[in-house]
């Protein structure tokens, strides 16, 4: 009896202690937390921005990584979790999160004004971090010659035998199908907003369906291409070019008809360290810092001045090079915010039949 | 009292059986043993003496490394346990926990294709035999230890096996229950004329139950015989010490005359004993004397060996008393008396015994238990 009471007292003490340490953990200033997408892109940010930021300002940084999805941020903000400050988000996440008040408005004056950036990089709640794209990639050791040059080529399994890797989402996929069917990039979303246009996209996809291997994570693409599992794949160029540089691979990409989008830096509205977060945004968007980024990952830059400053040889591999923007299509995130549920549902039904 | 079976009529026969586990000393060696039909034979010995291995070889769970085991003249070699038609009762019952008593007992019938009313009648008969009528629907975990062992017994009997093998079946029960079940096992064996091979390390149990006892030690058979023969005429010091209680006095043979000999023990005491086996003067021996054969002075009627001693300890046991006495040389002798002993520690007393009751065995010939 007495021993039980003692055990109970011990247990309560333990709980109290845990609670106490939890509290002090909150009170102690934690480093500024910046959240990227992991892998080579996060490493590029670290080397281009984060290391120098701490050196220059003395503000300690702590990294985390995620795979997108504004729901993650909504859960954190609604749940009172204040562990993230600066996060790299995709456009739809930016739109939805901004409407929900999950992000702090950007003080553009402090970032030398909206005009210092390309138009796509400017949003009330976020500043463009990088410009990336989805396009056709293949292994030059397996397909000789110039390779596929358009989405029509991608669909042409007679000229280019073998399977095709595509991301298992309607986003990008429907757009590519329409372009393969001859819709000019500028009209893609106009067509997709009509039921007939959606039907047309699915009809075109149906042609290629038996040859498609669906992937769900971009990290699968180098393996799929390198092992010959697929002859060509929808990909972002970064992973392949990094593999070419570091592993001596011969991956090649075709920029024609690429879909590009901007990733943004946002500051979460419940961040306890907004001043340092703003300081970090300034550091990461300053032209002299941003121009270093393509050294580590082939990506388009959002600062106009940085785009002019970068090494032209590095620019070849990025969407910042004007030659890479022939027939390019900017992802219409507001279209996907509106039609995403419906099209995903239809896509999932279609893909499983 | 049954006599050892005549050669050729053995029901079960172990012939030169040996069991060696890889690399070790033999668990059983040179075993020759015959069991007659209807006989209750007990394998008695300390743990590790080879008695259980012997039983398991007969049941078919172990294969002999050498020699042969025969049932009714036919070799059992290569015959799997489930074809041997032997009822085995294990120490921990080995009831099937997911079946009730009835289904446990019916199990051997079911695998023999006996089902329905015929099986039911047999099960009821078997349960009645072990006094468990009406408990058929119980599950093993709802039974006491004694009841479980009765179920195990019923299950081993219901299919009318050629022989029943029991491996320390009462080892897990308390003494009173054990004694009651001993009586019942004996009753059932007589009533049904069962042939039983029984394994135990409890010599009292062996004496109570058996027609014959086979004493094992160190993997070897030490002696086979009726309980009376084993108790009164042990062939060696091990049997003398293991079966029943015995005092052992170590000494040297000083003289041999006919059917008795003279032994000098510690304290220069000389005692008369009956030698077992060939003994010559100078041999180191152990003289054994059972406590009930030691008489207590002072008015002893001319026993052969008479010594003055001191009381070391007196223990009261209700129906008898036990006295531990110390001889002048320091050797201890325990004696048992039906009368009440009123002696205090260190009090002097006189003890004695006759030479016929005192057996002398040569040292060094004993097996290691």
């Amino acid at each position: 009896m007495r021993r039980l009471a003692a055990a109970f007292r011990l247990a309560t003490l333990g709980v109290a202690l845990l609670a106490a340490t939890g509290c002090t953990g909150e009170r102690e200033p934690r480093p500024l937390t910046v959240v990227g997408w992991g892998g080579s892109s996060q490493e590029a940010h670290r080397r281009a921005y984060w290391d120098s930021f701490t050196r220059r300002t003395g503000v300690r940084l702590q990294e985390d990584s995620w795979h997108g999805g504004v729901g993650v941020i909504r859960t954190k903000v609604l749940g009172g979790d204040t562990s993230w400050d600066v996060v790299q988000v995709e456009t739809e996440d930016l739109i939805l999160g901004c409407e929900e008040g999950l992000f702090e408005p950007i003080e553009w004056a402090a970032l030398s004004g909206r005009d210092a950036f390309i138009p796509a990089a400017v949003h009330d709640c976020g500043v463009g971090a990088m410009l990336w794209s989805y396009l056709i990639g293949w292994d030059g050791d397996r397909i000789a010659g110039p390779g596929p040059r358009s989405w029509a080529d991608f669909w042409d399994v007679r000229r280019f035998p073998g399977r095709r890797g595509m991301r298992r989402t309607p986003k990008y996929t429907l757009e590519f199908a329409l372009m393969a069917d001859g819709v000019p990039p500028a009209e893609v979303y106009e067509v997709l907003r009509t039921p007939a246009g959606v039907d047309r996209a699915f009809r075109k996809l149906e042609e290629l369906k038996p040859n498609i291997v669906w992937w769900s994570s971009i990290s699968q693409v180098p393996d799929l291409l390198g092992s010959g599992e697929v002859a060509m794949s929808v990909t972002s160029p970064g992973r392949l070019i990094v593999a070419n540089r570091s592993e001596g691979r011969n991956f090649r990409v075709s920029w024609d008809g690429n879909i590009y989008a901007v990733d943004y830096w946002v500051v979460l509205s419940n961040s306890p360290r907004k001043a340092e977060a703003a300081q970090l945004l300034r550091h990461m968007t300053a032209p002299e810092n941003q121009m270093r980024l393509p050294r580590f990952i082939p990506t388009g830059l959002t600062s106009r001045r940085a785009g002019e400053l970068i090494d032209p040889r590095l620019r070849l591999d990025t969407p910042s090079d004007p030659r890479n923007m022939t027939n390019a299509l900017e992802l219409d995130a507001s279209f996907w915010v509106e039609y995403g549920d419906q099209l995903t549902q239809r896509f999932n039904a279609w893909v499983s039949h | 009292m049954s006599l050892p079976p005549q050669t050729g009529t053995a029901f079960v026969e172990f012939a030169g059986v040996e069991k060696v586990y890889d690399g070790g000393a033999p668990a059983v060696a040179g075993l020759d043993l015959e069991i007659a039909e209807g006989e209750f034979v007990t394998l008695l010995g300390p743990s590790g003496s080879g008695k259980t291995t012997t039983l398991m070889m007969l049941a078919g769970f172990e294969a002999p490394s050498a020699g042969d085991i025969r049932l009714q003249g036919r070799s059992l070699a290569g015959k799997p346990p489930h074809r041997r038609n032997m009822g085995v009762v294990f120490q921990n019952y080995a009831l099937f926990p997911h079946m009730n008593v009835e289904r446990n007992v019916a199990f051997p019938l079911g695998v023999r294709g006996i089902r329905g009313a015929q099986a039911k009648a047999k099960v009821e008969e078997a349960l009645a035999l072990v006094d468990l009528d009406g408990l058929g629907a119980r599950r093993p975990d709802q039974l006491s230890g004694g009841q479980r062992q009765r179920v195990a017994l019923a299950r081993a009997l219901v299919f009318e096996p050629d022989i029943v093998l029991m491996d320390e079946p009462l080892g897990a029960l308390d003494r009173q229950l054990r004694e009651r079940l001993q009586v019942e096992i004996k009753r059932i064996q007589r009533r049904l004329g069962l042939t039983i091979l029984y394994v135990t390390h409890d010599q009292a149990e062996a004496l109570t139950l058996s027609d014959r006892i086979a004493v094992f030690a160190g993997g070897r058979l030490q002696q086979v015989g009726s309980p009376k023969a084993i108790y009164e005429h042990p062939r060696n010091a091990f049997v003398a010490g293991f079966v029943g209680e015995n005092n052992g006095l170590r000494g040297i043979v000083t003289r041999r005359n006919g059917s008795s000999c003279e032994i000098r023990i510690a304290g220069d005491l000389v005692l008369q004993a009956t030698p077992v086996g060939p003994l010559a003067p100078g041999d180191a021996v152990t003289a054994t004397i059972r406590p009930e054969h030691v008489r207590l002075g002072p008015d002893l009627a001319a026993p052969c060996n008479l010594f003055s001693a001191r009381v070391d300890d007196v223990a009261y046991h209700g129906d008898h008393s036990r006295v531990r006495a110390l001889l002048p040389g320091g050797a201890a002798v325990t004696l048992r008396s039906e009368e009440r002993i009123e002696l205090g520690a260190s009090e002097p007393l006189t003890i004695g015994w006759c030479a016929e009751a005192c057996l002398a065995f040569a040292d060094g010939a004993e097996p290691r238990p």
């Binding site: 999805g69 929900e100 549920d341 279609w350 893909v351 | 099937f96 695998v111």
Partner: protein, 399 residues
């Protein structure tokens, strides 16, 4: 004195104390798990977005019978609340909610808000129709009425590929949008097959573990547990290397002349079965191993001595006693498998995606937590049945 008042009081106190000891855990579970889960699940059957952003509009719509258009008095109320909600920052909630049911409602709401802020009049349906003709469609208003809450069947019906017609009858959605029944059935089927495969492969493994001497069993147990300690990605990559067209297995089979063209072993259902069975196997082996360890080997000897051959002894004595462990393991595997989606996403094809993938999509990507909650509810149903079946099995067979 057994049964005396003090004795009984003491017993009662002893009964109470263990609960006091686990009280912190219970509180922790309630606060950290049960309540949030219930709150999340409740989103599957409640509709609060419209009612909280446009309370008076919701009131007016609830009073309407749903036929044709509502009373025109709702128009100025709605107009005022659209503008008010935008100022308060709530317009996105209701816009997104309406968009779930009628795609395009989101832009309709925002375009209307823009027009109203620009001074467009909004007293009649005609005024609204001038801003956007969709305001004169009865279906638009019926959809808003259904969203007025407080309770809704919208998400649950949508999870079963059903919806309410404007007339309030349950109808199927268009065939091209019907996906969730398929996905749910597929999820149950994949989970059941994986549980079965785990049972077939795991039973002999558990038996081996239970019967080997510890010296050999322990390293083997570590091998069984290995997938636990490997990240999902590494494990999956390993399977890709093994199973792909030019992978190790196909290379071996072609090299040995057994097949001519590579077998499709991955990016299809087979790949999902292989990878999921691999990672879930320990969950079957461990409980089964525990139960098998508890079966005395003497029972098998007893069965044998009673005349049962090895097969009969196994079927009648061993197998029945291992059933509770087998059932427990299969229930655990089935339950865990229901929640899988990353493995199917990485090694499966288009027709192999599981319902948790949809739940994650709605939770993270589009913030449609109502759909996520409704799908989760449907996933919980068979779980409840499983637990019930588990309890029943545990009662009928002693452990």
């Amino acid at each position: 004195m057994p049964g005396s008042p003090t004795e009984r009081a003491g017993a009662a106190r002893r009964d109470w104390w263990p609960f006091a000891l686990v009280a912190p855990l219970i509180l922790f579970l309630a606060a950290g798990f049960l309540i949030p889960v219930l709150m999340m699940l409740s989103r599957g059957v409640t509709d609060h977005e419209l009612a909280s952003a446009w309370p008076e509009t919701a009131q007016a719509l609830r009073g309407w019978d749903g036929a044709g258009l509502p009373d025109e008095t709702v128009v100025p109320i709605l107009a005022a609340e659209i503008v008010g909600a935008r100022k308060a920052g709530h317009l996105n909630l209701v816009a997104n909610r309406l968009n779930y049911d009628r795609v395009g409602s989101r832009s309709l709401v925002y375009r209307t808000a823009d027009a109203l802020e620009g001074g467009a009049p909004a007293r009649s349906f005609a005024d609204l129709a001038r801003i956007d003709p969709r305001w004169s469609e009865a279906g638009q208003w019926a959809s808003m009425r259904q969203a007025a809450g407080p309770l809704t069947s919208f998400y649950l019906l949508a999870s079963l590929d059903r919806r309410l017609s404007p007339q309030g009858a349950v109808e199927r959605v268009e065939a091209e949008q019907a996906v969730f029944v398929d996905i749910l059935l597929r999820t149950f089927k994949i989970s059941a097959v994986v549980a079965l495969l785990c049972a077939l492969l795991g039973y002999p493994v558990a038996y081996l573990l239970a019967t080997l001497p510890p010296r050999l069993a322990n390293p083997l147990l570590i091998l069984v547990l290995l997938p636990f300690w490997t990240s999902a990605l590494v494990r999956t990559t390993a399977w890709v290397v093994l199973l792909q067209s030019e992978g190790v297995l196909n290379g071996f089979l072609i090299g040995a002349g057994l097949i001519e063209a590579p077998l499709p072993l991955i990016y299809n259902r087979l790949g999902v079965y292989i990878a999921m069975t691999h990672v879930l196997l320990p969950f079957l082996v461990l409980p089964l191993y525990g139960v098998m360890k508890g079966i005395s080997p003497v029972e098998m000897r007893a069965a044998s001595s009673l005349g049962a051959g090895p097969v009969a002894a196994f079927l009648k004595i061993y197998l029945p006693q291992t059933l509770p462990g087998l059932a427990a393991g299969m229930i655990i595997v089935f339950t865990l498998a229901l929640g899988y989606y990353i493995t199917p996403a990485l090694v499966g094809g288009g027709a192999d995606q599981m319902v948790s993938g949809s739940i994650a999509f709605y939770t993270n990507q589009t913030l449609n937590w109502g759909m996520a909650a409704a799908l989760s509810l449907l996933l919980l149903l068979p779980l409840g049945l499983m637990l019930f079946a588990g309890r029943y099995l545990a009662r009928t067979v002693p452990a």
